[in-house]
């Protein structure tokens, strides 16, 4: 008896539909070259469909597809060999040292309204994310966009659970520091003008 492949495609697309936006956002944040995002998504989805026969219905389709997409993007990033050239590999201690140069009293509250923060981050956020390592960026995005549990992230990236916690803590600390420094610049510029 021949398998109903048209039905397979319908079932696959039905599972894909609710996570399309998250997949696209995740890919655009994770990929090093923005123009590679569309190709990466399409390749990952077709790869997932090719392997859909092996997909177990009791597993998380969302985690499975994020895993395939992550591997696709990592392969693209490695292919371009740009991460090693541009990544600063800043450690939290180094960022703290930079941050401590300013007296605490001058620190503005960098947690503005979500809308203003989103506007400010729209372009700068991508630059900040590139400060992170590949795994830090993936863990942060899988948690923030994919809304995955730590264990799912560990399985998706094939790393230990402790590494997930370490990568996530460092990524969050770096991002908070970078966003805080950027938010301080307008205040400093305003003070200089005065």
């Amino acid at each position: 008896m021949k398998p109903d492949l048209t039905s397979d495609a319908d079932r696959f697309l039905a599972l894909l539909k609710p996570i399309e936006r998250d997949l696209e956002l995740y890919c655009r944040r994770l990929v090093w070259e923005p123009q590679d995002a569309s190709d990466a998504i399409q390749n990952a989805v077709l790869r997932a469909f090719a392997a859909f026969e092996r997909y177990r219905p009791n597993a998380s389709f969302r985690a499975w597809l994020f895993q395939i997409l992550t591997r696709e993007v990592f392969a693209l990033n490695r292919k371009h060999a740009r991460i090693a050239r541009h990544e600063f590999q800043l450690e939290p201690e180094e960022l703290d040292a930079i941050e401590s140069a300013d007296p605490p009293s001058t620190r503005p509250d960098h947690c503005g309204t979500p809308a203003s923060l989103a506007e400010a981050l729209d372009e700068d956020l991508m630059a900040d994310l590139k400060i992170l390592t590949d795994n830090e960026r993936a863990v942060l995005l899988l948690r923030a966009i994919g809304e995955m549990r730590y264990r799912e992230i560990a399985e998706s990236l094939d790393i230990p659970l402790g590494s997930v916690m370490g990568h996530l803590a460092r990524a969050r600390q770096k991002m908070r520091t970078l966003i805080g420094r950027r938010d301080r610049r307008p205040a400093i510029a305003k003070a200089d003008n005065l």
């Binding site: 021949k2 492949l5 048209t6 947690c111 730590y150």
Partner: protein, 217 residues
């Protein structure tokens, strides 16, 4: 738990990834420590806003329409591959196509098979090989027969004499001749003793040889 230990667990605590017992300990500590409670609140607010910023954006409909078409196209390709003929079927189709290609319109099937085809030329070659082989065999056959057959043309002396007697008796009965017919000269096979009859005429050489031998004795 001390404050630094509590601070190191802030992320997993805010992500609800800790077990019940550790979560309870942290909650007890936060209730008793205003500094840690304030730090936790600040971190929670910052991470929520970071997550909100990272989640900002929308899907591109054109991209997903293209992807959906690609998926359906891949499904059709797989379905076509599943229903594709087997290698045996392909070989039969190729053979039929080859025959049909060489067959002319209006040409009968046996003419297509026999002329002009490799089978035809192979058959002709086989016939020629058989004829050549038969020629080789039949060329040696008379010599073999000649050597192996019995010498029927040579009659024994008794037979010749019997024929001569019968011929003479027949001639006498018919009155055809006055003189008795000469029997054919028997040709004795080599190394065979000649038996003399009383009617035989003894050759002179034999008589001379007998006389010579008698004088010697």
């Amino acid at each position: 738990m001390k404050c630094d230990q509590i601070q190191s667990l802030a992320g997993p605590y805010l992500d609800s990834e800790l077990d019940v017992r550790t979560t309870g300990e942290i909650q007890d500590h936060l209730a008793a420590c205003p500094d840690c409670a304030r730090a936790f609140a600040t971190q929670q607010q910052a991470e929520a806003r970071l997550a909100a910023a990272l989640q900002q954006g929308h899907a591109t409909p054109a991209l997903w329409e293209r992807i959906e078409q690609s998926v359906r196209q891949a499904a059709r390709a797989r379905a076509a591959a599943v229903t594709a003929p087997s290698p045996t079927d392909l070989a039969v189709q190729a053979s039929t196509a080859s025959r049909d290609r060489t067959r002319q319109p209006g040409q009968s099937w046996w003419r297509t098979w026999l002329w002009p085809s490799p089978r035809f030329y192979a058959g002709v070659a086989a016939v020629w090989i058989c004829i050549f082989a038969l020629n080789l065999l039949t060329g040696n056959l008379p010599e073999v027969v000649h050597r192996s057959a019995p010498q029927q043309s040579q009659q024994s002396p008794e037979t010749a004499r019997a024929f001569a007697e019968q011929r003479q008796e027949l001639a006498e009965l018919l009155g055809l001749t006055d003189a008795p017919a000469q029997p054919p000269k028997p040709t004795a096979p080599p190394n065979q003793t000649h038996i003399w009859n009383t009617d035989d005429r003894v050759p002179d050489s034999v008589l001379n040889r007998s006389a010579t031998s008698a004088s010697h004795t």
